[in-house]
Symmetry: C2
Subunit: 683 residues, 2 copies
Amino acid sequence: MISGTALRTDFGFLGFRCLEITRWVICGLIGFLTGLIACMIDIAVEKLAGYKYLAVKQNIEKYTELGGLSISLILWAVLNSAFVMLGSLAVAFLEPIAAGSGIPQIKCFLNGVKIPRVVRLKTLVIKVFGVICSVAGGLAVGKEGPMIHSGAVVAAGVSQGRSTSLKKDFKIFEYFRRDTEKRDFVSAGAAAGVSAAFGAPVGGVLFSLEEGASFWNQLLTWRIFFASMVSTFTLNFFLSIYHGKPGQLSSPGLINFGRFDSDVSSVFIVFRGVLGALFNIINYWLTIFRIRYIHRPCLQVMEAMLVAAVTATVSFAMIYFSNDCQPLGQDNTEEYPLQLFCADGEYNSMATAFFNTPERSVRSLFHNPPGTYNPVTLGVFTLAYFALAVWTYGLTVSAGVFIPSLLIGAAWGRLFGILLSFIASIWFCCVNLTGGIVRMTLSLTVILVEATGNVTYGFPIMLVLMTAKIVGDYFIEGRSRIPGLQSVPFLHWDAPPTSHWLTAREVMSSPVTCFNRVEKVGRIVDVLSNTSTNHNGFPVVSDTTENDEPGKICGLILRSQLIVLLKHKVFVERASSRLSQRRLQLKDFRDAYPRFPPIQSIHVSQDERECMMDLTEFMNPTPYTVPQETSLPRVFKLFRALGLRHLVVVDNENRVVGLVTRKDLARYHVGKDGLEELHLAQT
Amino acid sequence: MISGTALRTDFGFLGFRCLEITRWVICGLIGFLTGLIACMIDIAVEKLAGYKYLAVKQNIEKYTELGGLSISLILWAVLNSAFVMLGSLAVAFLEPIAAGSGIPQIKCFLNGVKIPRVVRLKTLVIKVFGVICSVAGGLAVGKEGPMIHSGAVVAAGVSQGRSTSLKKDFKIFEYFRRDTEKRDFVSAGAAAGVSAAFGAPVGGVLFSLEEGASFWNQLLTWRIFFASMVSTFTLNFFLSIYHGKPGQLSSPGLINFGRFDSDVSSVFIVFRGVLGALFNIINYWLTIFRIRYIHRPCLQVMEAMLVAAVTATVSFAMIYFSNDCQPLGQDNTEEYPLQLFCADGEYNSMATAFFNTPERSVRSLFHNPPGTYNPVTLGVFTLAYFALAVWTYGLTVSAGVFIPSLLIGAAWGRLFGILLSFIASIWFCCVNLTGGIVRMTLSLTVILVEATGNVTYGFPIMLVLMTAKIVGDYFIEGRSRIPGLQSVPFLHWDAPPTSHWLTAREVMSSPVTCFNRVEKVGRIVDVLSNTSTNHNGFPVVSDTTENDEPGKICGLILRSQLIVLLKHKVFVERASSRLSQRRLQLKDFRDAYPRFPPIQSIHVSQDERECMMDLTEFMNPTPYTVPQETSLPRVFKLFRALGLRHLVVVDNENRVVGLVTRKDLARYHVGKDGLEELHLAQT
């Protein structure tokens, strides 16, 4: 590989130091920008939702006495739909990849699976705009998923020192234009996103490690932590200025549950288990329905608008028909207390839950003193909100699922808290919906501990998440149900149990297309053009013998490298005429990254096809190899620990006999009857 | 390897589930026991120190008026010396490995370096007894290091299901009697120790990962976290019962700094930089002095007693000569307020710092309102305590260095806090001594954040630790100065920069002693007995040709496996007469673990020397190999990522040409003039 020889000799000891400092600077920048974006989202949502609720509240107050509340309903529904329409239009027509929370896509990216357009600038813009619209539009969604996605995009952009979309190259950070470095930075970006979304820097680090880093590297972790810290700090700093209290950095994170007292009486509840499984099942059918019938963008926008209007209607109906009046507190914790049909000095408690952004609802559920809500209100709220959340999840809008599930959990927990004693409810009801959908158990615990700011809850939260995970696993296999990701070669942490009797020989793809050290250009072009052998890496062998016996391995070369070589016509015959060619190599590879041209775009004339290409200098001379008898768990461990994409299988004469790729490994899953072999889509 | 074939076939899918559940149970047990031990240490120290200070206080009060304070001084010094003598005697004569904090030893263990007797039951008992004595004896030490060590020993013991020291085998957890599993559990134990010591479960997990786990495994991390959580919870639970407030789990950790307010006026300061470097340099010379002159146990005990007496004398003198009287607060935060020569209703503020366990002193420095101490008091205190801490560190007592360095840092910060404004002092003085000595930057940040319970300080703490690290690195290379650990093959996280031009060929040891598949017993015994080739792993080759040309690799066998095979005389000639032999294999290997008999203890008769042994079934048939041209960073990465101990280097015919061990890699360090090759002791 180029990076193996040509590159590293550029750097002395000082060069490595500089590189490390540059990495830190980039991480700081990533944290700063992510914090800024989080701040922007936060303020925009607050402003827009504020205007909306104020308008509706005034309207309701006006018509409560006059008796034309249906006009208020229509106003509310129209406002909601308008916001959602804007967001949904942008997502559906401009960048469909910006739909949803973005967390599954980022997980795949960190796992080593490339999904096109995930970390582009355009995706970022649409994502941010979309999430502001959906939250302000009153949908049952959160803004934390898009926040994480935004962090990742920022990282991917900043670390490359250029924007391909804007066609602007700042000529900096050129060293980082390669997969491994970029992935490291994207880890940092995702962590900064989590940190900004939940005010949980440590949780952010753990999220990145859990999902991404296969090889635990202390310096990398330390940088990720730095990015997280900067992000939280930036967000707090600017929010404190916005709120007019500069320097008082007391609002960590977009989700600020406030500080829990030690003798907390409100119950901290996260919800899951059976309900979580139900969520997944319903959503699975809904997704299939959507794929079949609602596949055109304009239909998708209309569905989103419909959901927005229905959300407003349901909310309105709930508020209208509830007669749960509560006395208005002195401290005015409610921002938009709706009197409606309540007596003077009282307010409708259903409105606290529905006439608010989901984040504020969670906060009031956690912190309002016992007796604020009656059980029937809470029960109806939970069910209605659950239905809305299920329907909303999977819409073509940019939105997260964490806050809604937390909200349902909080309401459910509060309900149990009323029925049982409080302590008991902490222990028994802390079951988690989010765990069921998002499946990031370890970091989730830390995030929740950090968000509540109280380590005392750590142990119960953990016990509950574990219980929830076991229950959830029993009902449904969560990850593989993520719509659209079934065919992705996502590698889990360990090889499936009982896979130890499989060896590399059985897993590998064979026969493998190999190249000779000095290969004919025509053959290379043919192999790369052949769509049936779309491998990304090709073993280079020393000398293929006359019969079909494979040659001894002496290197590995990547498709992208071959394409760059072809593009620059680095042929043996031309070496004498173009001596300056060699010096350009490294820069050429970097400039082409990450959007290498397809083979079809490279024109090779008939004469050139007869030329030869010497791959020796460009290949990776010491690729990882395993003998045929290696067991699957060992191969798996190599892939995960070293972040491999291809592994050459050799016989005991070092002859190439096969190639193991991520797809070959991802085929094996544990089903109900033991090990199963899945048939992944051949993309 | 046995574990490769014979073992795994024992388990079906259900077996793997059971195994996983067992691991969880063990981790829970580890957490519980570690928490219990922490609780015991805490209560014992509190009781003993309480009695001591009460006796001295009464004596001082009695003689303040009578005018014979020298008697009080003698009483104090004698009490201190007596406690320290007990602790030091136990350490010096019974188990010298229990001296110090134990953290370097645990780090080495987790890194894969075996240090004898580190995780034995006897070490645990002496350690716990020793740390109680040293803290109660008034030395400038903390109890957090021994706590972490205790956690690790508990883990190593519990996970094996037997105690070799007590000669008791519970016949459980037999599957876990192997290096990798044991190391995983020790990680969990260390994390539980950190968690109990600092009330920082997340910090504990990060400590373990930073120091130990080379391959980030989600399930393992999750288990480590579980152990940490259980440990904190157990400690809190029992301490709350002891303090008479069951259920109110508000005292997380041995070090409880209390909760910091948002508008904190006391400055949170950790100290380091130049002073940290000074600490290391002085201690380095002190260690050399000790190795030369104080090498006999009784001398070591006497030195420890001397330090204890001097500590009492210095403290007494400081209190005696200070005239810094402060009014007694209403809330009586001081437990032993000394009036001495102060007016009625006032107390001597120097006594808060010196007439107290270090932990309480830290707390009072953090929390007492501004104006409690005057600058001169603080300045003198800092210097005196620094000198004492330097002298104490390295004594033959069981003690940690975290609390003393935190105490010096806190005093220093408080001093700056008085001189400068408070906010500025947070930013500029947060320099950390601990970081300089302990070098666990990432987890330290998290531990401090968790201990203060306020994420707002995270960013400044982090910035400061980074600054401190850079300053410290400039002055001295911390790790390699840890006394007694110079010759340990400790692998850092990355290969040294600029080492990329080194290849496996240059790094490897060569020639390698290989065995044939079917080898003569005599040769095996000779090779194992030969002290010059004390490798732990031997490549097995297919057929050594007549001339000295090496054979093709077909496996790797460990010294311990060979010894067990020899002990059970698994010879080809005996296969027919002892058919039952084969079935005992796995159990035999496990039973011998971890104290394999030395080769000298195995008697092989002259007849038996002529027998043959078939290694095929016992060797690891697919060891990791690399070609000769592999660069050092790549070899290094394989070692760290996969936790290897030996790596076979082969030529392109798959013939063994060399063997890379940890020692070969640890030789290379970055010095002032680039890469340096160290000469490690050949142990």
